[in-house]
Symmetry: C2
Subunit: 367 residues, 2 copies
């Protein structure tokens, strides 16, 4: 079954210009690429916002197609309207480092400011409001999509009926370390040029290496062992012969890098990896506790058993802090060997979580 | 207490010239830098060979000083003679990529062949033999030092009375992946020049990044969290302000990289990381089982509970395969949050393991 096409896809200019950012800087203009699947109903209370992960786009069905399966998917497009919004900083249509700065007429490049998911979500809120939606039936996401979902529940509690966040929590020191090394890989590449590379000459070697490091953190040792073990690269290399000949897992990582550099931009990678680092629901509140106490959405936090980028224990601990702050939160766990990527690799589990959240959200509101 | 100085430090030229390597290539000459602590007794049966890890040297007391503590150390230099040998491929005195190839009069650089620990140990055996030692009281090592210790027990069973290997097993797919990415970091650096950089212009950015990736695999997430959590870099940076400002763990990794590039060489890093990849006791035997069945040394394999480069489960599984092959092996585990580095960070545990192995080895021989 092919992924459904959006019923609408277009751009939205956030009315707030310049758009203030958390760190005190501003963007002269924020454009958001968004996509709708299905139709908003008259009451405009059937919208589900799906927030994407690091390298995703507004076209939710392109990367999370299983959620749109007709019989056993998470959404019923006869009843619901799914909204995808590309995050600020990305390279899939929204304002990002590759966009032209209207004030200079040149691409932002290395001058693109640090953005946080608080900024990202505030821009999304302007879009949602402009669509006449007073309350989202749910905000859903995995990884940094989950960060956005939780940020929505904290910053705009009156606008979120249910919140589902999978495999997301503030990064631990190990996660911060791995992100830092990925950014170093890009910034080490002379082609990066402080971020001011030409659009057809990005730092591909650095970006591919960053992707390789990330892939290790998205998968689990168990999965790698099952898939690759100590096999030589399937292309017929002999790792013992020369420095460059590889084991299979190395060929896999290199291949992932080669594919990635064709579809992603190094500066966007830096911007979003930085935003991931900075995710902290207490940001701009008196404390994390105060922030979490604002949550009124039925919130479902989901840990992934083999995730070592966002360990399930960290997700569970965040759920416990939410509960301690009085938020209506539940915690559950996906048992899988797929690691962090479990939110993509275990669609049946995700479908079930989202269906339950949508039903519970409705029940709680007496719909 | 300062680390003891070697009673002797010098070079040994392996008589086999050219020196054949596992992959069919050869080195025109192999020079080994070695160090002795204490004195060989008349019977020459009091020697303990200590094999070093990736970035170590023949000067064992410089990097494993705790083992030489006078009262509660592992060795009694009045009775034992500790031998350290720098591995082939390293940059601490033995023949490596930075050495001059006597056939060309130029440094090997990128032309240095792939070496395995089977090659490394065969060269060491020539040295040990030249010292008049017919049997080592013990061969001991952690990480790739442990690989060498086990290789000794397999290749020269009659020469090893006791073998202690800590935190070592054939690398799993995840370990191979992490090593590959570290080598990529170096090889991505234009200063690497295919290995043919000048000795004063090595690829420092790539080498520092490789070290950063390695540090993540040497430590544990738990330890990083305890030490760094989400604190901003102690130099006073604000990670939210700009792309380059760091969290504390990132500052730590960068610092480790800066220190490392002053003391290690990129091509040696590539050579030894490759040797680590290739470690496979079955190499050149009919099967791993056949190789393991050769072991007669009292062998102690030690897993490190929080090691994710060489998971304790992998070390235990190797011990089980040894036992199944009839080798006199025991398995024990060091409980620590220090990760792979536990073999350096938990000296008391290591001292106890080595003392027991030395005593057991003696008892088994009726000494």
């Amino acid at each position: 079954m092919p992924a459904p096409s959006p019923t609408f896809e277009g751009d939205f200019i956030v009315p707030e210009t310049p758009f203030r950012l958390s760190n005190g800087e501003a963007l002269p203009e924020v454009r958001l690429r968004y996509a709708l699947y299905g139709e908003l109903n008259e009451a405009r209370d059937n919208a589900v916002l799906v927030c994407h992960a690091l390298t995703g786009s507004a076209r939710v069905a392109d990367w999370w197609g299983d959620l749109f399966r007709e019989k056993d998917g998470a959404f019923d497009l006869e009843r619901q309207c799914v909204i995808g919004v590309n995050v600020v900083g990305s390279c899939y249509g929204s304002t990002g480092p590759g966009s032209v700065n209207p004030e200079t007429g040149k691409r932002y490049g290395g001058s693109f400011p640090v953005v946080t998911f608080r900024d990202v979500v505030r821009a999304q809120q302007a879009l949602v409001e402009s669509l006449g939606i007073r309350r989202l039936a749910a905000v859903v996401g995995g990884s940094i999509g989950g960060m956005q979902a939780m940020q929505w529940a904290v910053d705009f509690p009156e606008m979120v009926r249910a919140c589902v966040s999978i495999g997301a929590a503030p990064l631990s020191a190990m996660g911060l370390a791995l992100n830092h090394l990925q950014r170093q890989a890009i910034m080490n590449d002379p082609a990066w040029r402080g971020g001011d590379y030409e659009s057809d000459a990005q730092p591909v070697a650095g970006l591919a290496l960053a992707r390789g490091i990330a892939m290790c953190s998205y998968k689990s040792a168990e999965l790698f062992e099952e898939r690759f073990a100590r096999s030589p690269n399937r292309s017929g290399e002999n790792p013992g012969r020369s420095l460059g000949e590889r084991f299979d897992v190395a060929g896999y990582l290199d291949h992932q890098g080669e594919v990635f550099i064709k579809r992603f931009e190094a500066n966007s990678y830096l911007a979003l990896s930085k935003a991931m680092d900075l995710f902290d629901l207490g940001q701009d509140y008196y404390s994390e506790h105060e922030a979490l106490s604002r949550i009124t959405a039925r919130t479902q936090l989901v840990g992934i058993s083999s995730d070592w980028l966002f360990p399930a224990a960290d997700v569970r601990a965040l759920a416990e802090r939410m509960r301690a702050a009085g938020a209506p939160v539940q915690y559950s766990e996906i048992e899988t060997a797929h690691g962090h990527d479990g939110f993509l690799a275990e669609p049946d589990r995700v479908v079930s979580v989202i269906r339950t959240a949508l039903a519970t959200g409705r029940a709680a509101c007496g719909d």
